[in-house]
Symmetry: C3
Subunit: 315 residues, 3 copies
């Protein structure tokens, strides 16, 4: 593993999940592995779970962390090649990535989708240019189209709570007042393909995810039908992919409620957080013993720790 | 001690002051106590002394710290239960507190009073909801109505400089161009009740503090009369409590001056800082050898260290 | 060395460069020197290289760091003595510096020039008042008129790449859309005076640096003439010093290009970064193997480490 940009960078996913579970049992077992090593964490967007869980994972491995809110603490970055830099951007990614590589042994980056330029977002400019110009491993802490640390943590959580050989997993779209990226949903879909599971995606018309990612996953346009017999229900909002960045509806018909959960097989509820209560999902579902959202957040630490450990051991 | 929310969480206050003095003599004596432990520090407001002294205290105990400016680095929090979260607040305190509890062993929080809603401020929403929903100890780094770490440090400072069995201590209101919270004054009043002291509060009409806190402490409306024979003078501005959040006067009649200090028994001068020179207090008083303000700030480290140590040992 | 405010605080400069090179070879050789010590890093302006390289240097020495973006995380500072502080500034430098001295063993400060008040900028108010009121060593992380850590790193870089006993070094002004301070250029000029070198400064009319700093250094008004036979070319923009803070021209005649570099003796290219590509310098020069900009950034770590080590050993 050279970088951790997408889930595809994990070659043996099931093994990785098992190894992350072992780290969780004994988090400080490798606390000298990161001695003299430094992780730079660069944020272009807000973060609570990712910020704290990645720092915590680094602490478990004895890695020193340097955290920067890049947007306001450093210089605005230019990503285009060959431009005359006479605008607001005062540093080119070429220099920024090369320089950070001199001070850090690994660099983790969060840079959300713009949601106004599909081509640019899918080009993953920030993440990929860091990977291109850095001479150290780059870690994706949520990029325009992917959130692999979240999906990895979700896989750990599903494994911990799965009682069946082949559970039914439903990813269901849910309402939200703001246009949200597809990153979490994309990575969840990609991750589930590594599991033995019956998997369906439920969404209203107009909210189909990128078909190149969903592939032959059954798409269901009736939420209750999709929930039927589910063992895990993952709710998540995303904006329209076809009408890129648009919010097509704001009614609460697709909000996940306790009533709807009755269609499931006493399913576990999942969400990546932060979640808007009584918009995305009703209080009753979130506060139910079957809600795994806090444990998903907890497992972010061990997903990050697995990635950091692997990159250290390769280096 | 489960949390450190107010001074009442310290059961044997005099012992605590003595123990904090012992920590000051040998700050690194317990430097392995916090091994593998993490303190989250969440700021909803600016901070200099609290930020640095609490980090320093953690360092003395070998505790790892993760500092967040919550307002701009994370997600805006919702505190009400049962609301439809369709506004600007994207994460509920229930999730935020539970999630932080997974990454940290203790969490310290700074959240000032709004000064526009007395009932809400006195409900101590931010601090109390963190304490309610977190599964780890919560530490008050100044809340809407209390600043117990400051008052604890003030007690250490008074003990260090007291030459009498029963000194006279005066808390005097002083002018300020902005509406300031009552937190420091409230906690100072509560703290002094644990000391053997003659204590009076001086303030102009309209600036009486919450009577539930001042109790039977003599209130004096003439500053010079109050200062008569004082051994310690603590100056502090606060806005009106009865006309909640209002500034009733901006003249400098109540500014503490060297002239006024002549009424005292060569009193020591105290203030929590930051202080506006020549508005709250004249240069001559602040720059006088009897000023204890820097030592108060220094003692913030040992007050915080006592609290962290106690919470670690309980845990 | 009591403080590190300018290059003059290094008494034996050539020795310092050699010692920094030794630190670079074995960065963790003194990793216990900073045990129990704390460095405060206070930023009044953005920073990438300085922020990370100074933290990295501290890590090499085992020094604990506390980083603050002073402008938005703490209180606005008053620097004037005797004023009535009834405006926006709520803390005086006297208290801030004294208080920070209680929590830290050293404090590093970044505070750029205003560029609208020459007298004030040359008074180095922020840096000098910190040095005046702090009881701990103060380190300049770029002040209004000097950036000695950069110049120190530049000296290391020149020494590493110099093949001649007496190289020709050219500092050339270059265009920029914004008014930039003179700090980097000033410190570079001062530093080169410690080297055995033929040194010339090239700039258009109106862009002469402070004559008190340039002294008898030859000033050349024709860039190509200045570049003739150069071994090192350092490009840097600065605004007008005589018409203080003004931008006198924005054309690209003085941009450094590959064509112009042909006049040199296959010169090494240097710049402190961040750099605006194709405005200050053309892509071809920056991306050429002779560009030392990333190694200059790398050497910032060892410049900072030398300073921190020296201050620790004095203390």
């Amino acid at each position: 593993m050279k970088h951790f940009l997408t889930l595809d960078d994990i070659t043996h996913f099931q093994d990785a999940v098992a190894e992350a579970q072992a780290l969780k049992k004994n988090p400080f077992a490798n606390e000298n592995l990161g001695r003299h090593k430094t992780l730079g964490m660069l944020f272009f967007n807000p973060s609570l779970r990712t910020r704290l869980s990645t720092q915590k994972a680094a602490q478990h491995l004895g890695i020193h962390t340097m955290v920067m809110n890049f947007s306001n603490e450093a210089w605005a970055l230019e990503f285009e090649n060959g431009t005359k830099m006479n605008g607001l951007r005062s540093e080119h990614i070429k220099e920024a990535a090369a320089v950070v590589s001199k001070y850090c042994d690994m660099v983790a980056i969060r840079a959300f989708a713009s949601l106004n330029d599909k081509v640019k977002d899918e080009g993953e400019e920030v993440l990929n240019k860091f990977a291109e110009y850095a001479s150290i491993p780059v870690i994706n802490m949520e990029s325009a189209t992917a959130h692999p640390l979240q999906a990895f943590a979700d896989a750990i959580t599903i494994k911990e709570h799965s009682t069946k050989k082949r559970p039914k997993i439903v990813l269901t779209w849910a309402p939200h007042p703001k246009a949200l990226p597809h990153a979490v949903a994309n990575s969840f879909v990609r991750m589930v393909k590594n599991l033995e599971a019956d998997f369906v995606i439920a969404q209203p018309e107009g909210y189909q995810l990128n078909a190149a990612i969903t592939g032959n996953t059954p798409l269901v346009y009736n939420q209750e039908e999709a929930l039927e017999g589910a063992d895990f229900v993952y709710a998540k909002n995303w904006c329209s992919y076809t009408e890129y960045g648009k919010i097509l509806r704001t009614d609460d018909e697709w909000m996940l409620t306790s009533e709807k959960m009755k269609h499931t097989n006493d399913a576990m509820f999942m969400h990546c957080l932060p979640v808007r209560r009584n918009i995305v999902v009703a209080d009753g579902v979130l506060d139910h013993p079957n809600s795994l959202v806090i444990e998903q957040a907890n497992n972010r630490t061990y997903a990050a720790q697995w990635v950091l450990k692997k990159l250290l051991q390769n280096g």
